[in-house]
Amino acid sequence: MTYSGSTPAELCAEKPPAAGAERNDMSLVEAIAGRSDLQNELYVRYRRPLLQVFLHRRIARDAAEDLLQRTFLQAIKKIRTEGLDDPSNLGGYLYRTATKLATAYWRGELSHRHENDVELLSSLKDEALSLEERLDHEQLAKCVRDLMGQLPMQRDREVLERYYLHEEPRTAIRESLQLTDMQFNQVLWRARQRFGDILRRHGLADAEPDAAQSTQR
């Protein structure tokens, strides 16, 4: 991770990574339109973020897979028929398509399941898979247990439990523990750092996202 060893404050001093996403999107759209092998890059680049968009909308994984497939097929079809208004913003188009499909899903407007392309899914490269898909569940569970056991302060454990287990609002936790916004962020930052260390100690460093692959905007 680019911010290993940096505090949140130091992060602010770092320069933002160079952007190349727009150019990448344009070449990817061209590849899809031209049916070249490069079109598989569509899944590599966008499957993981779109999966999170669906999971965040409380869509179960199997249904999310179905919606992912629909999202990509809609995009490919549009690129090959009408084309995109702004080919440099393929990510934005996919995002809008995904959120509309998620809404339609919850409204019950997607009456039948789409046939997933099993061959495609099984041939996805590791880099297109999410952390949970790449790691054994037991391994991941052990890492989380280690994290909770290794947090230096009881207060840090309490913050994580109240935030993620009991789903209390951030402000309520902050007020009851008398934490400033920055202190709250530091608790999260420490936990995130420590979890990265634990993954590495378990030999799962590869499971960490590779910042070098980022195409931040």
């Binding site: 999170q52 179960a60 949970e132 994580l160 951030r170 995130r192």
Partner: protein, 215 residues
């Protein structure tokens, strides 16, 4: 906001905790489309959150063996396997049958917590293989909304497969045919008269051999 702001504000952590306002969420999700580092952070926080919820579920399982079951959390579900606690269903099954089937082990009763409803994955209800009715208490459904149950294909179950009624405390008591749960995940939603819906979560059924320890 740009990448540095998102990192400095621990936006990925807040995103997973549902702690972002609508505009920030949209901005962050759009940013994620081009930032594998932030996607990675989200994946990690989501893994932590899900595992904490799973651990709690298992923790309840351990506690279960040491004390009588409580009815406050549907994660105690397995403790009710074979318990036949029909009487705990708030009289829904009829006052005339207050002790009905308590010894028959054919009805499993669960209570659904707000946390479980908000989970990202379906929650499994564990009950004995010979269970004939699953009763689920669903709190926090607005009075002007109807509780509907959909199958994995998002089709509403037939009236013979489930029924629901409102209890005096405002919660809904849902009675399900276990067969409906054997066909995959079942989704609950609250429907308003104007057609809008609110997802209430999803459940699956897992049967255990009679007499065996629930998982």
């Amino acid at each position: 906001m740009d990448h540095i702001d998102f990192k400095a504000n621990q936006t990925a952590a807040s995103y997973v905790a549902d702690g972002l306002d609508e505009a920030t969420q949209e901005a962050f999700e759009l940013h994620m489309m081009g930032c594998s580092e932030c996607v990675g952070d989200v994946e990690i926080w989501r893994a932590i959150k899900l595992d904490m919820q799973r651990s709690r579920s298992q923790g309840h399982g351990a506690t279960r063996r040491q004390r009588p079951p409580a009815f406050s959390d549907w994660r105690m579900a397995a403790s009710l396997v074979g318990a036949g606690v029909v009487g705990a269903a708030g009289g829904w099954l009829g006052k005339s049958t207050q002790v009905t089937d308590l010894s028959s082990s054919r009805t499993a009763v669960f209570s659904m917590s707000g946390t479980a409803r908000g989970g990202d994955e379906c929650t499994a209800l564990h009950y004995a293989g010979d269970t004939q009715a699953v009763v689920l208490r669903v709190p926090g459904v607005s009075k002007d909304r109807q509780l509907a149950v959909l199958d994995a294909e998002r089709r509403e179950l037939s009236t013979g497969q489930y029924s629901a009624r409102t209890q005096s405390d405002g919660s809904r008591l849902l009675r399900l045919d276990p067969q409906a749960l054997r066909n995959g995940a079942v989704h609950l939603e609250a429907r308003a008269r104007d057609g809008s819906t609110e997802p209430l979560g999803c459940i699956t059924g897992e049967t255990a051999r009679p007499g065996s320890e629930p998982q």
